[in-house]
């Protein structure tokens, strides 16, 4: 099995380097969480977490992202089976789920700004917008990466370079899913319970 390109990609130096990069990104999010934990009660007289968040929307976003994490995993499985079309299919599925998630998030942000609760209003809203917004920014980067990756796979086929790209993207997407689970638990669930 060891000369399978996907396995070689996962044991490569590039994957280890990207793994360390992902952990540094975790530290960035940890700092944003620490800021949110400190500022979430500074509502500056404005709206608080309990009033603002609709829980069903947050749950659907979580389920979407979780299933997109599964489809990206299935893309890796098909890479192990060296089946190019299946890789493209599952990557497309991940792409669609990712865009839906992003659409829901942008819609919620516009709604908040529309009712006057933009990031300028209070420390809580600033930290909410920047924490969830940075995660949204990473989703956008992931979507662009998927487009570039699909072109590479279509044009160049299953080379070690495209396998490394796919494996690194898969790690990036799982990392985004884990960060979203913490956002879901800390920001939405604990916010709803009036922490």
């Amino acid at each position: 099995m060891d000369n399978n390109l996907a396995i070689k990609a996962e044991n490569s130096k590039t994957y280890l380097g990207f793994w360390i990069y992902i952990l540094t990104d975790c530290v960035v999010f940890a700092s944003l969480f620490a800021v949110y934990a400190t500022l979430h009660s500074n509502t500056n007289g404005g709206a608080s977490a309990q009033m603002l968040f609709s829980m069903p929307l947050a749950l659907t976003q979580t389920l979407i992202l979780l299933s997109s994490s599964l489809t990206s995993g299935l893309a890796i499985i098909s890479a192990l089976n060296k089946n190019k079309n299946k890789i493209l299919f599952w990557t497309l599925a991940t792409f669609i789920l990712g865009t839906i998630f992003l659409f829901l998030e942008i819609r919620e942000f516009n709604h908040l700004v529309a009712i006057g609760d933009s990031w300028r209003e209070s420390g809580f809203l600033s930290s909410y917008f920047v924490l969830v917004g940075t995660h949204g920014l990473h989703i956008i980067i992931g979507l662009i990466w998927m487009i570039v990756l699909s072109f590479i796979i279509i044009i160049k086929g299953l080379t070690i370079k495209s396998m490394k790209g796919l494996v690194m993207f898969n790690l990036f997407w799982h990392f985004l899913d884990i960060v979203w689970i913490f956002i879901f638990s800390v920001v939405y669930l604990m916010g709803h319970m009036g922490l």
Partner: protein, 658 residues
């Protein structure tokens, strides 16, 4: 919020400055023009671009880091000179040579330039030069990423220096505490310059950190397991772990401050729900690991130097490794000692005070281990050893001051006083700078093929040690006399002026020490014929880098070595074990100009955001992302060096060495 006109906030009076700043701009632009004229006159542009600016060779990148760092060291040295003259003259009704707002820009740029571009620059320069050679490999794990990291570092440096010519710089100190650094109290672009030059250089440092962790973990020579690595490489692994763990906190904090200033969020603003204390907490959660990032490589260099010049094995290898990792972990548990006086409760202050003292134990262990390496050795006192003696004498004083400052009530008295300024300068000048100067003098022959003149080297070291004492002992005394840091004027009744004048003389001596270093290098290059190092092993070294010719060829090792014992090269020489070399073709990475494009992109992004010229920032981002995508599509990035040319080089080297 988005300005309509194309130039954002940039207008004619961002070019108007006072006299001293105009002199600085004149010196900077004249030296740039002088270099351009020199290059065109000697027709060296092609050579510069082909050999250096697009090179992926870790040795060339290391040399470029050191050149930039020495330039930044001398620029920030000028800042120090202006500050010392200001503080020596500005008493009673005299107001010295600069206005107070300009004085605040000077000490902010002095601190930022020294830490981020002089010290970090020297560190990454020495790491790039020495680490691949000491672990017996041909290149770092990601050569292209290495070039990109250097060029991001250079882009940050250029952005910082344009603030001298265009607009002003931050006046809020090297860590820009809010609310002073918020829009309400610093409306000019100064703080933006500070944020974005640090953000760009910070990303470069983070990528280097990742690059060298993977290099050390995966590219060591066969047989060199972790416990057989040279101690310098251990200290770099520790330092790079700190870089990768701590720099993201800096990136996040700077981004939040930038958002506060750009889109009106309320993270650290005094009103509107913000909490300025959170910035202080986050910036020091990065700040303290940062100073250990700088000191660990200096400890590593001293471990190598003391072992080599005492001709003895490093004493207590295991406890040295334990000490490094104790420092790495503990450095994340002490950051509150930078704001004991903010008003936290006694339990919090007490806990962090005790943790700060505990971190002094591994440092003390390392010093005792070096001293016992000298025990029963044959010590030759060449220039690196003089730097080491100066380090031990002065660093221990800084350590004692550190233990005093670790006790919260003692820190209530001495926080933000000149005693604290003298303490951290002792740790950084006599610890970090002495270590890196010793490292440069020690490895200079390996990369330039010529040994440095011994006499001038020792003079430089003595000047720095003496200059340091004359410049900073008065500051310890001034701290006890109640003088605070960052003062541009004080009343005559305090009796401080004589001490400030003595400190000014001290800085002049340090300046002459820096000139002595430059003279040492210039003189050795001038007389390079009789300073040539033919054997590749001028100091009878113990580690792998001395087993190859100097200047080290682009491929480092013609045949990758295998290691049996720690200090294998020394053991090989003692038992004059013969090593049979079986040659084969090797592939080395091709040059790439993409690093330069990313640097230009990062600079225009930063400059655009600082001056709200947002179309320029978008162009910068496009430049960066397109360079990355071009690189991933690029296939032929390697070139082959044939077996025959390797054999020919080795024959020439061994023939000459006999």
């Amino acid at each position: 919020m988005i300005e309509a006109n194309l130039l954002g906030l940039l207008n004619i009076d961002s070019f108007r400055h006072d006299l001293i700043q105009n002199i600085g701009v004149a010196i900077m632009s004249l030296s740039v023009i002088f270099v351009i004229l020199g290059l065109t006159y000697f027709k060296k542009w092609r050579w510069l671009f082909k050999e250096w600016l697009s090179s992926l060779d870790h040795k060339k990148i290391g040399i470029m880091y050191i050149v930039v760092a020495v330039l930044m060291l001398s620029k920030a040295g000028f800042d120090a000179l202006i500050m010392r003259t200001q503080q020596a003259l500005s008493v009673g009704n005299h107001h010295g040579i600069v206005s107070s707002s300009h004085y605040q820009q000077i000490f902010s740029s002095h601190g930022t330039t020294m830490i981020f571009f002089a010290a970090m620059g020297l560190m990454f320069g020495i790491i790039n030069l020495a680490v691949p050679l000491m672990i017996g490999t041909r290149d770092v794990a990601f050569p292209w990423l290495n070039s990109v990291s250097f060029w991001l570092f250079a882009a940050g440096m250029i952005l910082l220096n344009t603030s001298l010519a265009i607009g002003d710089f931050s006046g809020a100190g090297w860590l820009a505490y809010p609310p002073l650094s918020e829009l309400q109290y610093s409306p000019t672009v100064g703080v933006d310059y500070w944020i974005w030059s640090l953000q760009i250089a910070g990303v470069g440092s983070l990528l280097s950190g990742i690059n060298f962790i993977v290099t050390i973990l995966t590219k060591r020579a066969k047989g060199m397991n972790l416990m057989k690595m040279p101690m310098f490489v251990w200290s770099i692994l520790g330092s790079m772990t700190l870089v990768t763990f701590a720099f993201p906190v800096l990136t996040a904090t700077l981004a939040l401050l930038a958002l506060d200033r750009l889109i009106g969020t309320h993270f650290f603003t005094s009103g509107g729900g913000g909490n300025p204390m959170m910035y202080v907490n986050l910036i020091w959660a990065w700040g303290h690991p940062e100073v250990y990032i700088l000191i660990l490589p200096a400890f590593g260099i001293f471990s190598e130097i003391v072992a080599t010049f005492s001709r003895k094995k490093l004493f207590g290898y295991k406890s040295m490794v334990w000490a490094i990792w104790a420092i790495v972990i503990l450095s994340f548990t002490v950051w509150l000692h930078h704001f004991f006086t903010m008003g936290a409760g006694a339990d919090v202050n007490g806990f962090f005070g005790i943790m700060t003292m505990i971190i002094a134990i591994p440092t003390g262990v390392k010093i005792f281990n070096w001293l016992f390496t000298m025990f029963r050795g044959r010590i030759t006192f060449s220039a690196p050893m003089i730097w080491f003696i100066g380090f031990i004498l002065l660093f221990s004083i800084g350590g004692v001051a550190g233990v005093i400052l670790a006790v919260p009530p003692a820190d209530f008295q001495l926080h933000n006083s000149l005693f604290l300024v003298a303490h951290f300068h002792t740790m950084i000048v006599s610890g970090v700078l002495f270590g890196y100067f010793a490292g440069i003098v020690y490895w200079f022959p390996k990369f330039f093929g010529i040994r440095l003149n011994e006499k001038l080297g020792k003079i430089a070291a003595y000047l720095w040690i003496l200059g340091f004492i004359v410049a900073f002992v008065p500051l310890y005394a001034l701290g006890i006399m109640g003088a605070t840091r960052r003062m541009d004027h004080y009343s005559a009744s305090m009796g401080w002026q004589p001490l400030f004048i003595v400190a000014g003389v001290g800085v002049l001596i340090i300046g002459s020490g820096l000139l002595a270093i430059v003279a040492q290098v210039a003189y050795s290059i001038y007389k390079h014929l009789d300073y040539r190092d033919k054997t590749g092993d001028p100091w009878d070294g113990r580690t792998l880098e001395w087993s190859i010719p100097s200047p080290a060829p682009s491929y480092n090792f013609s045949v990758l070595p295998t290691i049996k014992k720690p200090d294998d090269f020394w053991d090989l020489k003692q038992t004059n074990r013969k090593v049979e070399l079986n040659y084969s073709d090797i592939s080395m990475p091709k040059n790439s100009y993409l690093g330069l494009f990313i640097s230009a992109g990062a600079f225009s992004f930063g400059f655009g955001v600082v001056w709200h010229i947002f179309w320029l920032s978008i162009i910068g981002l496009i430049l960066i992302f397109s360079s990355i995508i071009i690189r991933t599509l690029d296939e032929n990035t390697e070139y082959i060096i044939t077996k025959e040319s390797l054999i020919r080089d080795d024959m020439k080297f061994y023939g000459e060495a006999k």
